[in-house]
Subunit: 345 residues, 2 copies
Amino acid sequence: MNTPANRQIILAERPRYIVPTASIFKLGSAPMPQIEEGQVLLRTLWLAMESTLYARVQRVTAIQRDPIKLKDAMVGSAVGRVVESKHPRFKVGDLASGLWNWADFAAVKGERLRNLDFGPQKPSYALGPYGLPGFAAYIALDTLAPPQAGETVVVGTALGSLGHLAGQIAKLKGCRVVGIAGSAERCQLAVEKAGFDVCVNREAEDFEAQLKAACGKGVDVYVETLGGRALDAVVPLMNTGARIAAVGQMATPHFGEALARGRTQNTMNFMSEIIARRLSVRGLVASDHVQGRVKVFHQQMKAWLDEGRIKPMEDVVAGLENAPDAFQGVFEGRNRGTRLVKVAD
Amino acid sequence: MNTPANRQIILAERPRYIVPTASIFKLGSAPMPQIEEGQVLLRTLWLAMESTLYARVQRVTAIQRDPIKLKDAMVGSAVGRVVESKHPRFKVGDLASGLWNWADFAAVKGERLRNLDFGPQKPSYALGPYGLPGFAAYIALDTLAPPQAGETVVVGTALGSLGHLAGQIAKLKGCRVVGIAGSAERCQLAVEKAGFDVCVNREAEDFEAQLKAACGKGVDVYVETLGGRALDAVVPLMNTGARIAAVGQMATPHFGEALARGRTQNTMNFMSEIIARRLSVRGLVASDHVQGRVKVFHQQMKAWLDEGRIKPMEDVVAGLENAPDAFQGVFEGRNRGTRLVKVAD
């Protein structure tokens, strides 16, 4: 008897262009994984199309962690149902989240999985509000760049997986929240669906003037996910002692935006501004903070979701075979909230 | 009877070149100032040649505060003796420090002066260890970028007014302290006189390699006063969670160093490093922190000086008329410690 096949998305080549296109992946097939002692076999239900996965497919750089080898399966955050278990913490039928192959089934060490027995409102929320996007938004605004009530918070990618949650968390903290997004339509959604007070289109010719008008009292906190023209526009508006949580750089050349020639685009000018405005700039990698913080975060997020005070936006694409296109779309600014691939019910 | 004349240094023109040359100043004369109620007449004893004064003479920029008008007297940190007082907190013979004209005599509001009745070991110390350079070094290493014992601290301008004190404070905190200076001779002085464990010449062809060798365990804290090639060399050595106190940019083009084309010289790359290395970068303007902190700092610095644990380096130039040359020298890296002009005994 043949082992049943397990469909998976393979990294076929490194990105040829700056944006990682769908063509770097191929749909492949592998034998069904067999689990060893301590492992769990999972039926993949959901995959998160995270922009940070770019670092795993690109050519090796100084800051790259765990690059994926060519011909190997792509790996990312996922939610699945346990179909077989050799780990005491998991039984068949349990929901779990973790990092595993973009595949129908995966064998994962139980110790590297999170049991979703805390009662998430939806299993997919483990990849959004309860996942790294929600946790990063929480840490950014709780620890790295905490705002006071009444302050103005700018969020770089208002409809991003992290951004749309950061905006809502900042609203809960009593702030005026200004989003930045890549089109007028996306700006409208950010206001209507994600509760931003105002959202400014960074593709508009008068983006800088619009942003200035939207931040009448200056900017106190910037959740920086863009770089480029957006950073350039925000810094001159920052108040003395303002804080930047540096989370990503979605508007850098890999995103197709030419490097701006503005005032903060060389480090000399940026450092001048950091000194003159007494800025604090802190780099965030959310996984650093999980230890010791994640329980309180869970309780807080669960309460916010139960009370309807945070409304996650999920942007669902159906079918494992469509993951490559869904991933490319994130880098083209096509996602509206957390982009997920639904692999199975 | 004529009022006696008061010599003063006038700002005759804005800098024509990137480095502020002595030629922008002229020695002039004004009537002896008459004091009003609440004012004090001071005989200037010491003037501090601070690089930050550059912001007051250059053309108006976004970050400039209180520019000095052409034909007005230059203003800077000074120590003087009270020769006449219409302020209750000062009597004739008292020593005071504050910000006043580069002139033999100055009329200053008493409320803007500091009475040096706390017993500084030398009056000039009010401009070095007890002044903004010492206070900035203290705040940088106490609040903005605090090191732990055993960590590696890099100080950008090892023989600078702030740098030579920052190095000694970091040593007192039990750190390995690596300086950066502009010549082999200055590096030698930094080790012999200011107690740096090692000091690297940023003009050396293999500066980057030398710095790397000097920081075998990576860099945990960087007191950043340079920008340019130095920042470029330090950032790749920074450990996860390292801290930068951004204090100045002495190696930027106004200092004659061409803008490097290295990895951190555009903000996009710098932000990548900030995220990947989870850096904290905080801008320091020491005067922000005076309120509430200065008393504890005073006591601490007084004890360190009394115990001989901090040895200030003073670089004295005699004569008010020589202030312009002495000032230019700071931007040419000629000072060894705090550069002071001695105006009177």
